[in-house]
């Protein structure tokens, strides 16, 4: 039994020191110890309670140890339990007492009463004194064989405790195989569940050093064992059901009829009142049907109602957890939920953490048919008393506008926001109007008319002010007062505390100068002077740069500072589809709540049992490390979801000479790596994740086993080096550093699937196409390969991760390349090579 925490606060002088009380207690306990008078147990209970309450508030009662143990020579369980609580607390800190305790507990492990045997065994295993583990082996061994199920239940967890104190003692005593025997034979399902938990932990930890343990761990997801559990799922407690269901998600059924059997069997689990059971079942359904597009869609439809019921029936905390998962699903399949948008309307009294999620969902499900109603609802929240939510709602309106539905009407609403004359509403709306203009320059006329009416004095927030200034610079030809407003802003240079605003002011004055030189000249001079004298390094540098480039050549300066801009078609997404897929794989875990994969917030050893991510040695770990860096960067760069203008201009800058930065070799250049990633997200908005369903659908429609012919115009011929060489370490390093250039899903021909019964055949085949394998692994039906190739007569590498599922006859391919511009060409080659696999 766990000790209550030692009180943190020191004893105040007014509190009793406890000394006299303790000696008093000692005296009383001694008197009772030998007594056999009727009712003596009741008096003992009172005393024991006192002792424990002293212990809880931090008074040292360890001197009563002997008396406590003596008084516990009784069959009264309440006394025993209190005594265990007491000894458990002091044995750990006092080694002298520990040995005494062990003797006392060992004796109780042979008591007639199974409750006492169980309790004593649990206390014994909880002592966690490393040098006394040999005393645990005997009692644990007999505990596992005890005729009483309570004792066995306790013993199983005891084995796990022993393993954590001394793994070798536990393994040497052959406890794992005893647990395995119990797991397969015991009639008590709680014992089966405890064995499963314990063995998952033990075998996962042992798997790296012991092949047998690795095999045993694999056997947990073998068909006979999974069926053994599934067939009695309803006998397990609701918590043990969650454990079993999580295991089932790892199981790969051999064909679709098996998948349907499992789903039919688990169907009623979706009606369980316990949200944990429902979510675990949902995960099974989603994972099983991943490669069956139609069924996968049906699963979304099926799980919608139970999840929505959980959201509204549980505590706000539980609805938050369930909503986070719904949010993930909504982001993946907005169309499935688009008719349910009213469920995501915020309720008046919901906590803001729930409202935020709902706002994101409303943004995600907005489409042609519901945008009008959703935006109307969001506009109601904009006037809300809850200011953070009001702001969030306005941003949501902006995001919907950027999705291109009903832009016309939304622009009107945003402009109405500007007229509401609430500071925070104006501020948020300005930022949005700026982003809208970057995407839809055609609206500039309407917007500028309204923005021109806003007094810059009423705009205080840096982001909003920067947005306003950017618009003044960008549209100075259309805004009558632009030069004068900018001039007055320059005059108040010293009062402007935000460097971001001052930077934007410099650029805006420059732009205005190119368009309306006579009116702006004096403001420009003042701005440059103030900028050069600015204490902020970036502001100083930019001002100096502008000054020098103007002196060098005004028209060059104009080309640099104010080039013609193209409308932004898609703003950068904060998360790569790779990360999103990982989060989806970790459905029903904290990853979904934090919206990051587990490696970003958890040490490896805590990722949970049966983590198979590292099948290919440390390759995938390396990859994980890479993602940590880049995604954090993305986050830093991009807190607002949308890039700010300055950042975007930088991004474009790097794309002009992208090839220089595309191959970062050390961490100092990793900033650029993340930018390239953003870029690839911009230029390839539909790669990977999103388009998967679409491509599935087409393949199925055509009913062809062969990969579709790539419809891109034939790329420049790419020749590969037939004798390419790359050592595994270099591969790992590159895999870590490079962003994913291309990610796609290919179909395999039936012949290829057949040929894959010998995976080595694929290696030889690809090699004949100058694509070399560096690592491979997996078991039917799931295989994973890492390939590389080199460009002929150039040290430019292509790296490929290829995951093949032979059941679905699909290959998931991720390509990384030193030189991004040729990755499409390489991908075509790779696809071609793969399509020929299995053909004679």
């Amino acid at each position: 039994m766990a000790p209550p925490a030692q009180s943190q606060r020191s004893q105040s002088p007014s509190q009793p020191s406890g000394k006299s009380e303790v000696s008093d207690l000692k005296h009383q306990l001694r008197q009772l110890a030998g007594s056999r008078a009727p009712g003596v147990d009741d008096s003992k209970r009172e005393l024991f309670k006192k002792v424990i309450s002293y212990m809880t508030i931090g008074i040292d009662v360890s001197s009563l140890f002997g008396e406590m143990v003596m008084c516990s020579a009784t069959s009264d369980i309440v006394l025993k339990k209190m005594c265990y609580l007491y000894v458990g607390n002091y044995a750990k800190v006092n080694p002298d007492l520990a040995l005494l305790t062990i003797n006392f507990l060992q004796r109780d492990c042979h008591d007639e009463d199974p409750m006492i045997r169980g309790l004593a065994l649990r206390s014994l295993c909880s002592l966690r004194v490393a040098n006394l583990v040999e005393y645990l082996v005997g009692p644990l061994g007999s505990g596992l064989k005890d005729s009483n199920s309570y004792v066995r239940t306790v013993a199983v967890v005891g084995v796990l405790k022993l393993y954590h104190i001394s793994a070798s003692t536990c393994v040497d005593a052959d406890f794992p195989s005893m647990l395995k025997h119990l797991m397969l034979n015991d009639s008590d399902t709680q014992i089966v569940a405890n064995c499963l938990s314990a063995l998952q932990e033990i075998w996962s930890a042992e798997a790296s050093t012991s092949e047998e343990a690795a095999r045993e761990r694999e056997a947990l997801i073998s068909k006979p064992f999974i069926y053994y559990l599934l067939n009695r799922i309803k006998e397990f407690s609701e918590w043990a059901q969650c454990l079993v269901l999580e295991l089932v998600t790892k199981y790969v059924p051999s064909d679709s009829s098996e998948i349907f059997d499992i789903m039919n069997l688990l169907e009623d689990r979706l009606q369980h009142a316990n949200g944990a059971v429902v979510l675990a079942t949902v995960k099974v359904f989603l994972q099983l049907t991943l490669s069956m597009t139609d069924v996968h869609q049906q699963v979304y439809e099926r799980i919608k109602a139970p999840l929505l019921t959980l959201v509204s029936s549980g505590s706000p905390e539980q609805s938050y957890a369930v909503l986070s998962h719904l949010h993930l699903l909504v982001m993946r399949a907005p169309y499935v939920f688009s008719s349910d948008y009213k469920h995501f309307y915020c309720q008046y009294n919901e906590p803001s953490y729930v409202k935020r999620l709902k706002l994101e969902m409303l943004t995600a499900v907005a489409n042609e048919s519901n945008t009008y109603e959703i935006v109307t609802e969001l506009c109601e929240y904009a006037a809300n008393v809850d200011i953070p939510i009001a702001r969030e709602s306005i941003r949501a309106v902006g995001k919907i506008a950027l999705q291109q539905y009903d832009v016309n009407a939304i622009v009107d609403r945003l402009l109405q926001f500007l007229e509401m004359e609430k500071d925070y509403v104006t501020a948020e709306a300005l930022v949005l109007v700026k982003d809208l203009l970057r995407k839809y320059p055609q609206w500039s006329h309407d917007c500028i008319a309204v923005v021109g009416n806003i007094s810059s004095k009423n705009v205080q927030e840096p982001k909003a002010k920067a947005a306003l200034i950017w618009m003044l610079g960008e549209y100075s030809q259309d805004m009558q007062d632009a030069p004068y407003i900018l001039e007055s802003l320059v005059e108040n240079w010293d009062e402007e505390h935000s460097a971001e605003v001052r930077l934007h002011l410099l650029t805006a004055v420059m732009k205005c100068f190119f368009k309306r030189p006579p009116e702006t000249q004096s403001a420009l001079g003042a701005a440059l002077a103030a900028g050069i004298g600015d204490f902020h390094q970036d502001v100083h540098d930019r001002a100096l740069f502008y000054y020098r480039i103007l002196r060098y050549n005004v028209s060059v300066a104009e080309r640099v500072v104010n080039p013609p801009k193209q409308a932004v078609s898609v703003f950068a997404d904060t998360q790569s589809s790779e990360i999103k897929d990982r989060i989806f794989d970790e459905f029903n875990s904290l990853s979904v709540l934090y919206q990051k994969p587990s490696y970003m917030f958890t040490d490896k050893e805590h990722r949970g049992p049966l983590e198979f991510a590292d099948e290919l040695g440390n390759l995938s770990i390396g990859e994980a490390a890479h993602n940590v860096i880049s995604s954090q960067r993305v986050e830093e760069n991009d807190k607002d979801l949308l890039l700010t203008t300055a950042e975007k201009e930088e991004t474009r800058g790097s794309s002009n000479n992208g090839s220089v930065y595309a191959v970062p070799y050390d961490s100092s250049t990793s900033v650029f790596a993340s930018q390239t990633q953003i870029e690839s997200a911009i230029s390839n908005p539909t790669t990977a994740g999103h388009s998967q369903h679409a491509s599935f659908g087409i393949d199925d429609l055509l009913g062809l086993g062969m990969p579709a012919v790539p419809d891109v115009a034939s790329p420049p011929q790419l020749k590969l080096n037939t004798k390419a060489a790359l050592d595994p370490n270099a591969f790992q390093q590159k895999w870590r550093q490079l962003p994913v250039a291309l990610s796609q899903e290919l179909s395999l021909s039936p012949q290829a699937v057949a040929a894959l019964t010998v995976p080595q055949a694929l290696l030889r085949h690809m090699q004949s196409h100058s694509i070399h394998c560096i690592a491979s692994g997996g078991q039917s039906p799931n295989f994973k390969f890492f390939f590389f190739a080199q460009k002929y007569e150039e040290p430019s590498n292509y790296l490929v991760e290829c995951i093949i599922n032979t059941t679905s006859a699909k290959a998931q391919v991720k390509i990384k390349a030193d030189n991004q511009s040729t990755s499409q060409a390489f991908s075509t080659l790779f696809e071609l090579a793969l399509s020929k696999f299995g053909t004679p």
Partner: protein, 449 residues
């Protein structure tokens, strides 16, 4: 999987602390984080967050924080559900959940926790099962003074029809008189959410219901609960908000529902009967959700108009649209006023009793409390507002929406009913008390202006 479990009071005092591999001081780290989540204090900490690799989960129950920590990437809904369930089990034992009852019974609470969680793995949360492992007797605290737990608590005030203290009675403790009273409570608790548009029509409405059971029957007899025969579940195709559906007026149509483990649905499809052997303790037999159109219990009418320079008048009308034999309790109406409101003077209808009005200066909110509203009656409040600045002619955009909370005993909006509650008889003289009670509460009841 779970490293620690602890219960904190609202002030951050440690009440119960169970085991830990996570570094010491996690309770302090947790409390500081929750207390100062956002600088402005406007936002509540989410129930789950991560500090230095340690994940903190918490649920708030009657002002107490039930917290679990772990470093493992566990299922969040599992841990939150567990915390809620631990609170429920402790409540089953102690009768009431409060700081006081915790302190008086901490040895018992430790004993319970030891059987619920072993080495971080959940063993059981069934009060029924725990009874055979847990031996300390609860020390029952005086329930009358304490804030009760859960929606069933609304029955606590007690009246002729139901014993007030029943729901705060420990499941295990013996009555002072010796023998336990044989009784069973079935509560149909509905939380309704309605949003009215400014023109008074219903924008969205939903009922979230629970059939809650608490059994004090010995020997666990089987129970059959019969619901409306015309009850149907799942709305086929199309939008669930399809109000103009062609279903008959009498039928009760649930969007979806779920059931407690112990419920057998063998004959549910045929005669809408739930069969179960209720375990000890309090538990939801069935949760359901309904978006079928229903008659909202209250009609809200709000008018706000300028009345001269720097002045405006608000007229609020509430009409109870339920039969006169039913009375709503604890009605509170709130309305945010324009930020530049400096004063509000109220005028209640003549002869008003049990009504209270207030202008909350700090957040510029109007509050109107009514102890009770009898079905069929209408109440009006007039408020004269004084402003510190000119309104921009768009006063309705600066005020509202009107929100309302209330409790209506013996009323349910969905018309879902327990037609009968049958207890398998042990002998002809066995006739335990059965209480079937209905209550409707406002969840989010909002009228835009």
């Amino acid at each position: 999987m779970i490293s620690q479990f602890f219960v904190l009071s609202q002030r951050g005092d440690n009440i119960v602390f169970h085991r830990g591999e996570v570094p010491k001081g996690s309770a302090e780290i947790f409390f500081r984080k929750v207390k100062f989540w956002k600088q402005d204090g406007q936002e509540e900490a989410p129930p789950i967050f991560n500090v230095d690799g340690v994940n903190y989960f918490h649920v708030k129950v009657v002002g107490l924080f039930f917290v679990a920590t772990t470093r493992v990437n566990v299922s969040p809904s599992l841990v939150l559900e567990l915390l809620q369930r631990v609170a429920r089990v402790i409540k089953d034992y102690l009768g009431v959940l409060s700081e006081d009852s915790f302190r008086k019974n901490f040895v018992l609470v430790y004993e319970l926790l030891d059987e619920v969680i072993d080495f971080g793995y959940v063993q059981t949360t069934s009060t029924e099962v725990l009874k055979s492992y847990v031996f300390n007797e609860p020390i029952v605290v005086d329930a009358a003074r304490l804030q009760p737990l859960g929606p069933g608590a609304i029955f606590m005030q007690g009246n002729k029809r139901m014993p007030g203290t029943a729901i705060t009675k420990s499941v295990v403790a013996n009555e002072p008189g010796g023998r336990k009273r044989e009784e069973i409570f079935v509560d149909i608790i509905e939380k309704i959410s309605v949003t009215f548009s400014s023109s008074g029509y219903i924008l969205t409405s939903e009922i979230d219901g629970t059939i809650q059971m608490k059994s004090y029957l010995t020997g666990n007899p089987e129970i059959r609960l019969a619901l409306n025969e015309d009850l149907s579940i799942g709305r086929g195709g199309g939008s669930v908000y399809d109000y103009g559906s062609s279903y008959g007026a009498g039928a009760v149509i649930l969007d979806d529902c779920n059931f407690h483990e112990s419920v057998r649905l063998d004959s549910f499809d045929m005669d809408r009967t739930l069969a179960l052997v209720p375990p000890d303790g309090e538990f939801p037999v069935m949760n359901y959700r309904m978006t079928q159109e229903f008659k909202p219990p209250f009609h809200i009418n709000c008018l706000i108009e300028e009345a001269g320079h720097l002045k405006a008048e608000v007229v609020l009308k509430i009409r109870a649209e339920f039969p006169s034999n039913i009375t709503a309790n604890m009605v509170v109406i709130e309305m945010p006023l324009p930020k530049y409101t400096t004063r509000a003077s109220f005028e209640l209808e003549p002869g008003a009793v049990g009504q209270r009005t207030d202008f909350k200066e700090a957040n510029k909110k109007l509050e109107w409390d009514l102890k009770k509203i009898v079905g069929g009656f209408e109440h009006t409040l007039r408020a004269k507002l004084t402003f510190s600045q000119e309104s921009h002619g768009n006063i309705t955009k600066e005020a509202g929406p009107v929100s309302m909370t209330f409790t209506i005993p013996m009323y349910n909006a969905s018309r879902l009913q327990v037609k009968y509650l049958q207890i398998a008889k042990k002998s002809s003289s066995y006739n335990p008390y059965r209480w079937v009670r209905y209550v409707t509460q406002a969840n989010s009841y909002v009228a835009r202006i």
